[in-house]
Amino acid sequence: MQATPIHFMTVREQADLLASGDITSVELTRHFLDRAAELDPPPFELPSEPRSDHDGMLSTIVTIAREHALEAAQRADEELRSGLRRSILHGIPYGVKDLLDTDGIRTTWGSGILRDRVPARNAAVIERLDASGAVLMAKMSLGEFAGGNTSSALNPWKLDRTSFGSSSGTVSAAVSGLIGFGIGTETGGSIVYPASSVGASGLRPTFGRVSRFGCMPLSWSLDKIGPVGRSARDCGYVLEQINGFDARDNSSASRPFAFRADPGSMRGRRLGVHRREFLLTQSDQNREVFQDALDLWASMGVIVEDIDLPQYPTGALFSTIVTVESGTIFGPLLADGSASGMFSFNEDRAAGWMAGRMMSASDYLTAQRIRSQLTREADEILSRYDAVVAPTWPNGAALREVSDGWPIPARHEWEPPDDFAGGTPRLNAIANLAGHPGLNIPCGFDPDGMPLCLQIVGSPFDEQAVLDFGMSYQDETDWHSIRPEYPWRR
């Protein structure tokens, strides 16, 4: 059996090598830095317009922090030699979406308007990863101002396909072996959708689980920060380090998370299946892939039951909440005219923010009242199951080409039905509005060789349950271990 190249190893495998002394953090960090600099060297033009190609590169990285990374790795090695191992992440290099502030390292929010912005502080997540001994090596590309439907990075499985948004750089780099693990953010799908398009494992934590202090806000009442990796366990290990109460974030929750890497027996656990979303794909092969995953859990003794989810105007809720909050957040960019420097694809987005500034407070509060009712109903449904599952997206990644602001399905197999307002599948929309955790895991490939993935959603603060489903699945399958080949397929 061929050994896994070091850059494709999971967090656990990298940590074991470091703990045994088979490799030093400096060696591991240099390996990732060299690989990133060789295969995907920044700078790419900012802002990152959706482009058909970057000369065969992925454009996953905005800034490589080489000097910073090597110094941090050196410190990690010295501590390891003195017997101090801060956490399982100690000495492992990671990349973070370029909207989390990093002291002395530019943080652009994916926009040319902020190409020279260099913060003098670290985001809370960076502080926590520093304290855990992890090594910050790169700032990852994203849709400008965390725009959700454009990918700045290309998809390593096929360069003409979207890697979605907005955490596209982080997820593409994770599956391409350019970083040890990654940090993404999600408002309405920006971790799980891009993770799904490239076959990464990515976890959206419960709202409030991870402090957003020092992270660009897009929507105060919806934003979440979460881990991206090459396995569900990677996500658990990273979440364990980045979660925790922070008084600097008004929504921060005091609910510590301790990760258990053994899922235990799955017998008797209950899995709700939002069958409607499984039937959305027009491809028989895709349907079989999704059904095989359900059958595997059933064979472990999991009780698999079809469920239905309530009908709510989720697109209208998202649109209202995000545009009103973003309109407030980005008001200064609109007022001083610097929004004109946004890239052309985003012109309608800036107008949406301005329209959000004009909405009445009453309409905004109505949206938050409907959301409250939806949250209660969703919590009640989730309380009957250990987790609920649906395809993260019913088909493989769409084309990079967009129509009406939305990527065009590669095989024209699927058009979002009316009740999928905004093109957002229902489980994902509800889970994001209700603040439920969701884990994306790969479960196969479509007829074009593009990854297909499932999203496992759990009750608030029960990330362990969704990770258990993910780990138990990945212990029996190897979809999460299959990597895109370099040079990336055109």
Binding site: S251, G331, D348, A355, S360, T366, S372
Partner: protein, 95 residues
């Protein structure tokens, strides 16, 4: 020019009222005709603060479409059946 507190309250209150009335007008126009007029959008734009990039006619037209879309969405949400006991999800928390 200096203004006293009473004058300031009056001006600010008038601004807020203009905004609220213009927004209701936008919602009513969308409900009646499916679209919103440039005049209504201009009133909203001036009431919210500096015009920024929206002096440009192309940008303004983009904004007009966005306002029509937001008004359509607001009408949709207003029609959603809600219990009078339902409170909004807000962040304010003590302890």
């Amino acid at each position: 020019m200096t203004i006293d507190r009473r004058h300031f309250t009056k001006v600010a209150g008038a601004g807020a009222a203009v905004m609220a009335v213009a927004w209701q007008q936008a919602c009513a126009q969308v409900s009646d005709t499916g679209d919103v007029t440039a005049d209504t959008v201009r009133t909203l734009l001036d009431a919210q603060g500096p015009r920024g990039i929206y002096d440009d006619p192309e940008e303004f037209e983009r904004l007009r479409r966005a306002v029509a879309n937001s008004a359509r969405i607001a009408n949709q949400l207003r029609a959603f059946p809600l219990s009078e006991d339902e409170q909004p999800l807000t962040v304010f928390r003590r302890g």
